[in-house]
């Protein structure tokens, strides 16, 4: 697995699950992402690393439709996400199209963003009921199973304020999974946690990677985890992918001077 080369696995035969084609994002004069091309194969696990301000979180936020894009197109599962086909041409997606496509994607946030007025169980039931149309019983069963999977089967009726950061983040993972997405996005999911709580969250993600055939994109500062867990690592710098490759090879022998410098700095920090 570790001696793959830089091309996306299976890219020749199957369409990628996620494709960024010439995607540009600007805030005023500031170019956050500069004509990004990135394919992620189905079931592939991609770690996105890089210095702050390099545009890595923006990649996830655009894919979750939390940010609009200025140029290019994002595709998910063979369909355009940011655009829709009308009369043979691609036009900007309307809210209905965005809602339909968003159903393929789930996201876990740095600051959990749980609904503080709902219990862990209710957090995981709300969207399946109101969006997917599940009955209360079905939703409760699904939420209960997922919360057990993340090790919180005994905390169903706890409010977020009664849970530790690590527990809250695990609820957030269960909540995203309850929508059965094809693609899961993890945005620095351990950055807001005390170091001793990171492990429980990472081990849940590890289990997910083993037992579910999800496509995963994660922005992370946990280099050890990226190396061990990801199939591929993309190093972002100044709005571009400066270097990418299979995780093991990437960390063992980074080619670019800038990558080496970044990895050295990160390793020294731990």
């Amino acid at each position: 697995m570790n001696n793959r080369n830089d091309t996306t696995p299976g890219a020749e035969d199957a369409p990628p699950m996620v494709r960024f084609a010439g995607v540009t994002k600007r805030y005023g004069d500031l170019v956050v992402l500069d004509s990004l091309d990135l394919d992620v194969a189905a079931h592939e696990k991609v770690a996105i690393i890089g210095p702050s301000g390099s545009g890595k979180t923006t990649v996830l936020r655009m894919l979750m439709t939390l940010e609009t894009i200025d140029d290019g197109t994002i595709w998910v599962d063979g369909e355009p996400l940011t655009h829709m086909e009308r009369g043979g041409a691609l036009v900007r997606a309307d809210p209905q199209h965005l809602r339909r496509m968003r159903g393929h994607i789930g996201m876990v946030f740095q600051h959990f963003n749980l609904f503080p007025h709902m219990t862990a169980l209710k957090n995981c039931m709300e969207a399946p009921i109101t969006v997917l149309g599940l009955s209360r019983d079905e939703a409760r069963e699904r939420a209960g199973e997922l919360l057990s999977m993340v090790g919180l089967g005994d905390k169903l009726d706890h409010y977020p304020s009664q849970l530790s950061g690590g527990q809250q983040q695990r609820v957030a993972i269960a909540r995203a999974l309850a929508m059965r997405p094809k693609v899961m996005l993890f945005d620095e999911v351990t950055s807001a946690l005390d170091p001793e709580l990171c492990g429980e969250v990472l081990s849940v993600i590890r289990t997910l990677g083993r037992e579910h055939r999800l496509t995963m994109l994660m922005v992370t500062h946990q280099m050890g985890f990226a190396r061990e867990f990801a199939d591929r690592v993309c190093f972002f710098d100044q709005g571009r992918i400066l270097e990418q490759g299979p995780a093991e090879a990437f960390f063992a022998q980074p080619r670019e001077a800038r990558t080496q410098q970044f990895l050295r700095a990160v390793m020294e920090a731990v």
Binding site: L66, S161, A176
Partner: protein, 223 residues
């Protein structure tokens, strides 16, 4: 002549008690209207298209910058010129509701602004519709912190109901004035009206604190 005539006070008390029902009705109906109107103003201002945001802002500023008394007169005497004729009581309720709705809009806005952006983003990531997001995620977090401020406006609105006497709504003040003009004894009815307002204000302040407390554990704490 006595300063305070107990017999007369006891005599007018039942009449004032009856009038207090009108005052309470105007207060509650006006406040309910203000709560709804205020929310609509706030949401229109936050999420509507530009033309709606600007017109709502204009209306809110207008309502807040002109005296309630003039608004009451206007609704009662000018609207019929445009073919809209309402009885005194509905007119009074409408005026109170619109005027205080404009104030409540500001309170709602503070409450809505106070909900972290991450909550909206989580709702988008879960694909919740805007309506579900608002009703199930945002409002339950926006309302509890603003209950005290809304409660203040309830008391303020209540204390302004005597203004309705200018369009002859038979609320407490109007009734007291009529009683006084009949007997030339104003001290007792006016004092009793004052005491009634004091009692109601204290009771509602206590009730608001209870509501505040009841909402606290549900809202939870953000960490």
């Amino acid at each position: 002549m006595k300063i305070w005539d107990w017999d007369y006070a006891w005599e007018v008390l039942p009449i004032l008690a009856e009038a207090s029902v009108v005052t309470l009705q105007a207060t509650l109906a006006g406040f309910l209207l203000a709560l709804v109107v205020g929310l609509l103003f706030a949401v229109g201002r936050m999420t509507g298209p530009a033309w709606l945001r600007w017109s709502v802002t204009g209306v809110v500023e207008f309502l807040r910058s002109t005296p309630l008394l003039i608004q009451i007169f206007f609704l009662y005497y000018v609207m019929p010129e445009f073919g809209i004729t309402l009885d005194a009581m509905p007119t009074g309720v409408l005026a109170l509701g619109l005027h205080y709705g404009a104030y409540c809009a500001e309170v709602y806005r503070a409450g809505l602004d106070n909900v972290p952006r991450g909550q909206w983003e989580a709702a988008i990531a879960l694909n919740l519709s805007p309506w579900v997001t608002f009703r199930r995620v945002i409002l339950p977090q926006a309302i509890p912190p603003i209950v005290p401020a809304l409660g203040n406006y309830l008391v303020a609105l209540f204390k302004e109901t005597p203004l309705l006497s200018v369009i002859a709504v038979l609320e407490l003040m109007q009734t007291a004035k009529i009683l006084g003009s009949e007997s030339f004894q104003y001290t007792e009815p006016i004092t009793l009206v004052g005491l009634f307002f004091l009692a109601f204000s204290l009771v509602s302040a206590a009730l608001i604190r209870q509501v505040e407390k009841a909402l606290q554990p549900r809202a939870g704490r953000r960490t």
